[in-house]
C-alpha cells in the first residue's frame, strides 16, 4: 500500500524542538513550582518565545514545495503498518503555530503581571505551557490519532485552566461542563477515525485525503459529520456551545489564549485540514456552513444581552468562530482561515484589555459598575477601541479584510442566504461591541453606585477572587509593564495585519495558501466584492448608530444608572437564559443520565447484581440441604439408590447395545 505523505519528508530537528519545548516548560514548572516561585513566569514565557523563534526559522521549510508535496514532514516512527506518526508543517499548520506560539508568548508575558500575587503562580504557567504543547500536538500532527491526542489534551488543559481557582464552585462546575461537552466531541472524532481506518487502513492525512474520491457518499458524509461533531464541541458551535460562556470563570489570560485565539479555533483547523474530504461532499459542506452561520447569528444576539464584560467577549468569540466555520464550510478556506488569523489578534487584544480593566477595578467584571473609564484608563480605552474597530470590520482595520472574505465567499460559493446572514450578523456585532464600549468607557464611573439600583440581582457574585490579591477598590496603581506591553504590541497586528490580505488573488495571503486548498472555478456572483464591502459597511454603521442612540447620547449618559437598571430588569427571559440551550441540554442529557443512574442504583444494583450474588449463596445452601436430605441413614433408601443406579446402567447398556447392533 502506497503511503502518501503530505509534505517533504526529511529531518527537521528544529520542528521537534519547537513542539517539545512547551512540554519541557510545563514539566519544569510542575515539578519545581515551589522552588521557582516567581521565576516560573519568565521560564514559561521563554519556552514559548523560543518556540516562536523556531517557528519563524522554519518558515522556509514550512512553505517549501517539491514534487507535489507541500511543507515539511518529520516522521516520528511507525507503530503498526498504517499507523505512522509524524509532524507536518505546511502553510496551514505553520500559520496556526505562529499564532499559538506568538500570541501565546505575549499572553504568557501578560500573565506574569496579571497573576502576580496569586498563590499558584507556577502552576498557572505549567498549565499554560502544557496547553501550548497540546495545541501544537494538535496542529502539527500528520495523522488523525495525533490530532485526537492533541484534541483531548487541549480539552484537559482547558479543564485545568478554567477550574484554576478550584475553590470557587462555579469555576469547578464550568470546568466540568466544558470537559464533558468536549468529550462528546472527542467521541465524534473517534467515530470518524474508525470509519477512516476501516476504509483506508491508515491514520495519516495523506492516505485519507488521497482516497477522498473513493469513500462512497454515505461513508464520506458520516466521516464529515462525526468530525464536525468534534469541531462543534471544541469550537463552541450550536448546539454544543453552552460551555464557552461559563468558561469565562477562568483567569482572563486563559480566556484570551484558549477561548479566543487558539483552542476554540481547533474546529476551524480541523475543517480546513480536511478540506479534501469536505470538498467531495456537498451535503457536509451545507451542514457545516449552516451551523456556522446560525452560531454567528445566535452568538451575536446573545451578546447583546450580557452584562459581564467577559461574557460579552465570549459570545462574540462564539459568533466570530461561527463566521470562520461558515467560511471553511462554504469552501472559502482562505477566507475562514484569514478570519481566524485576524480574530486571534483582536480577540486576544480585547480580552487582555478587559483584563487590564478587571485587574485595575479589583475583579469587577460587570459593565454596569464601570463607566467613564475613558478618562481614567486611557490606555485600556485605546486597546479596547482598536479591538472593537477591528471586530466590527471597519475598513482598513484587520477584521474588515477577513470578514469580507468570508461573507463574499459565501456568496461566491453559492450560499446567498448565508451571505445575508453574515451581513446582518455583522450589524449586530457592531451593535453589541459598541454597546460594551459605550457603557464601559463613556459617561460617569458607576463603581460607587449601589448595585441593586443598577439592576444587578446578585451583587455578591460579581468579580472573581484573585488569591491573596492586595489591591484595594478603585486603586489604579502604577503601570504594570507586563500588562501593558503585550497589549501595546498587539495593537499593531490588530490594526494592520489585514493588509496582507489586500489584493484578492495576488495578495501575500493568497500566495501563501496557493497550494494548500482546492480552488474550484466559481461562477461570478451577482454582487461584486466591492459592493459587498459597501453593504456591510452600511449595516455596521447602522449598528453603531443604534448603539450610540441607546447608550452614548448625552441624555443616555446622564441617566445611565436608570437606563441600565430598566434594561436589566426588562431583559427578555429568552435572552437571559441563552435561548434555553442550557435548560434543554440539562433536561435531555443531565437529567436522563441522573435518572438512569438512580434507577440502576435502586433496581438493578440491589436486585440484579446483589441478587445474583445472593442467589449463588442461596443455591449453594439449598443444594447442600438437598444433598443432606439424602443422608437419611435409612438402609432401604440406600438400597433404593443402588437399585436406581443399576436400572440406569441396564437401560443405558440396553440402548447402547441395541444401538450398536
Amino acid at each position: 500500500m502506497v503511503h502518501h505523505v503530505m509534505g517533504v519528508d526529511g529531518s527537521y530537528p528544529l520542528l521537534i524542538v519547537l513542539w517539545l519545548l512547551p512540554l519541557v516548560g510545563a514539566i519544569l514548572c510542575w515539578a519545581f513550582g515551589p522552588q521557582l516561585k516567581r521565576l516560573a513566569g519568565p521560564l514559561g514565557s521563554a519556552m514559548i518565545g523560543a518556540s516562536f523563534v523556531a517557528t519563524l526559522l522554519l518558515w522556509g521549510a514550512g512553505t517549501q514545495t517539491a514534487n507535489g508535496a507541500l511543507g515539511a514532514h518529520q516522521s516520528l516512527g511507525s507503530w503498526l503498518p498504517g499507523f505512522d506518526f509524524g509532524l507536518l508543517l505546511d502553510p496551514l499548520s505553520l500559520l496556526w503555530t505562529c499564532i499559538i506560539t506568538g500570541v501565546g508568548f505575549l499572553i504568557h508575558v501578560y500573565s506574569i503581571g496579571y497573576m502576580e500575587g496569586d498563590n499558584a503562580f507556577a502552576r498557572f504557567f505549567a498549565y499554560l505551557n502544557f496547553f501550548v504543547f497540546a495545541m501544537l500536538t494538535l496542529v502539527l500532527s500528520d495523522n488523525f490519532i495525533g490530532l485526537l491526542v492533541g484534541w483531548g489534551l487541549v480539552g484537559l488543559a482547558s479543564y485545568f485552566l478554567i477550574g484554576f481557582w478550584f475553590f470557587k464552585p462555579s469555576a469547578v462546575a464550568a470546568a466540568r461542563k466544558a470537559f464533558v461537552i468536549n468529550v462528546a466531541g472527542d467521541v465524534g472524532i473517534m467515530m470518524a477515525i474508525f470509519i477512516i481506518v476501516a476504509s483506508v487502513h491508515s491514520i495519516s492525512f495523506g492516505d485519507a485525503f488521497a482516497f477522498a474520491g473513493s469513500y462512497g457518499t454515505t461513508a464520506l458524509f458520516a466521516i464529515c459529520l462525526c468530525l464536525f461533531i468534534g469541531a462543534a464541541a471544541k469550537s463552541a458551535q450550536i448546539p454544543l456551545h453552552t460551555w464557552l460562556p461559563d468558561a469565562m470563570e477562568g483567569p482572563t489570560p486563559v480566556s484570551a489564549l484558549i477561548h479566543a485565539a487558539t483552542m476554540v479555533t481547533a474546529g476551524v483547523y480541523l475543517v480546513a485540514r480536511c478540506a479534501p474530504l469536505w470538498s467531495q461532499n456537498g451535503n457536509a459542506q451545507v451542514l457545516v456552513a449552516t451551523i456556522g452561520g446560525l452560531t454567528a447569528l445566535i452568538g451575536a444576539i446573545l451578546g447583546t444581552a450580557q452584562w459581564d464584560i467577559k461574557r460579552i467577549l465570549a459570545y462574540s468569540t462564539m459568533s466570530q468562530i461561527g463566521y470562520m466555520i461558515m467560511g471553511v464550510g462554504v469552501g472559502a478556506y482562505e477566507g475562514g482561515v484569514a478570519h481566524f488569523f485576524t480574530h486571534a489578534f483582536f480577540k486576544a487584544q480585547l480580552f487582555l484589555g478587559s483584563g487590564i480593566i478587571i485587574h485595575a477595578l479589583a475583579n469587577e467584571q460587570d459593565v454596569r459598575r464601570m463607566g467613564g473609564l475613558r478618562k481614567k484608563m486611557p490606555f485600556a480605552f485605546l486597546a479596547m477601541g482598536t479591538g472593537v474597530l477591528a471586530i466590527m470590520g471597519i475598513p482598513g482595520f484587520s477584521g474588515f479584510f477577513s470578514k469580507d472574505q468570508v461573507i463574499y465567499g459565501a456568496l461566491a460559493h453559492g450560499y446567498p442566504w448565508l451571505y445575508a446572514l453574515g451581513i446582518v450578523t455583522a450589524g449586530i456585532t457592531a451593535y453589541y461591541m459598541c454597546r460594551m464600549l459605550f457603557v464601559t468607557f463613556f459617561g460617569e464611573y458607576r463603581g460607587d453606585v449601589d448595585p441593586s439600583s443598577l439592576g444587578i440581582r446578585h451583587p455578591e457574585l460579581a468579580g472573581t477572587p484573585h488569591g491573596d490579591d492586595a489591591h484595594g477598590h478603585d486603586e489604579h496603581h502604577g503601570t504594570n509593564w507586563f500588562l501593558t506591553v503585550p497589549v501595546a504590541i498587539l495593537i499593531i497586528p490588530t490594526v494592520f495585519i489585514g493588509w496582507v490580505m489586500f489584493g484578492g488573488e495576488n495578495s501575500p495571503w493568497s500566495h501563501f495558501f496557493a497550494q494548500q486548498f482546492p480552488h474550484p472555478t466559481l461562477a461570478v456572483p451577482a454582487l461584486s466584492e466591492g459592493m459587498t464591502a459597501i453593504i456591510t459597511l452600511v449595516v455596521v454603521l447602522i449598528g453603531i448608530g443604534i448603539a450610540y442612540m441607546r447608550y452614548a447620547t448625552a441624555p443616555a449618559l446622564s441617566g445611565a444608572v436608570e437606563r441600565l437598571r430598566i434594561e436589566s430588569v426588562k431583559m427578555p427571559g429568552v435572552l437571559t437564559n441563552a435561548f434555553y440551550f442550557d435548560a434543554a441540554l440539562d433536561l435531555l442529557f443531565v437529567r436522563t443520565s441522573q435518572w438512569l443512574g438512580d434507577a440502576i442504583g435502586r433496581f438493578v444494583d440491589p436486585h440484579v447484581i446483589d441478587g445474583a450474588v445472593r442467589e449463588v449463596a442461596f443455591s449453594a445452601t439449598w443444594f447442600g440441604a438437598l444433598v443432606r436430605s439424602l443422608q437419611t441413614g435409612l438402609l432401604r433408601a440406600y438400597a433404593l439408590f443402588l437399585v436406581f443406579g443399576v436400572a440406569c446402567f441396564i437401560i443405558y447398556y440396553a440402548v447402547v447395545a441395541s444401538g450398536a447392533h
Binding site: G633, A639, V643
Partner: protein, 104 residues
C-alpha cells in the same frame, strides 16, 4: 422335558421377573431377614440365567459359575445374618428403619 423345547427368551423373562421380585422385596419390606431372603431370590434368578445359557451353548462354564455363586451366596447370607443378630440382639422390634445410625 429333557430337551430344549422352551425358547431361551422364556428363561430370560422368567429370570428377570424373579430378579425384579427380589428387588421389590428388598426395597419394600422392613424386616431385615426378609430383605436377606429377597437378596437370595435375586441370586437365584441370576443362577437360573447362567444355567439356561450353559444349556444353550452346551458349555459348563455356566455350571461352574453358578456353583461359585451359590457358595458366595452362602457366605454372604451367613455374614448378613450375623450382622442382623449383632444389631438386633437386644432390640424390641426388628425394623431396619430404626437403625438409622448411618444418618448424616
Amino acid at each position: 422335558m429333557d430337551l430344549m423345547s422352551v425358547p431361551i427368551g422364556n428363561y430370560v423373562a422368567l429370570s428377570s421377573v424373579i430378579f425384579f421380585i427380589g428387588v421389590a422385596g428388598v426395597l419394600t419390606r422392613r424386616n431385615p431377614l426378609i430383605m436377606l431372603m429377597s437378596i437370595e431370590l435375586m441370586f437365584n434368578a441370576a443362577n437360573l440365567l447362567f444355567m439356561a445359557f450353559a444349556r444353550v451353548w452346551v458349555h459348563n462354564a455356566g455350571h461352574i459359575f453358578a456353583f461359585l455363586v451359590i457358595t458366595v451366596a452362602a457366605a454372604e447370607a451367613a455374614i448378613g445374618l450375623a450382622i442382623v443378630v449383632a444389631v438386633f440382639r437386644s432390640a424390641k422390634h426388628v425394623d431396619v428403619d430404626d437403625v438409622a445410625l448411618m444418618k448424616g
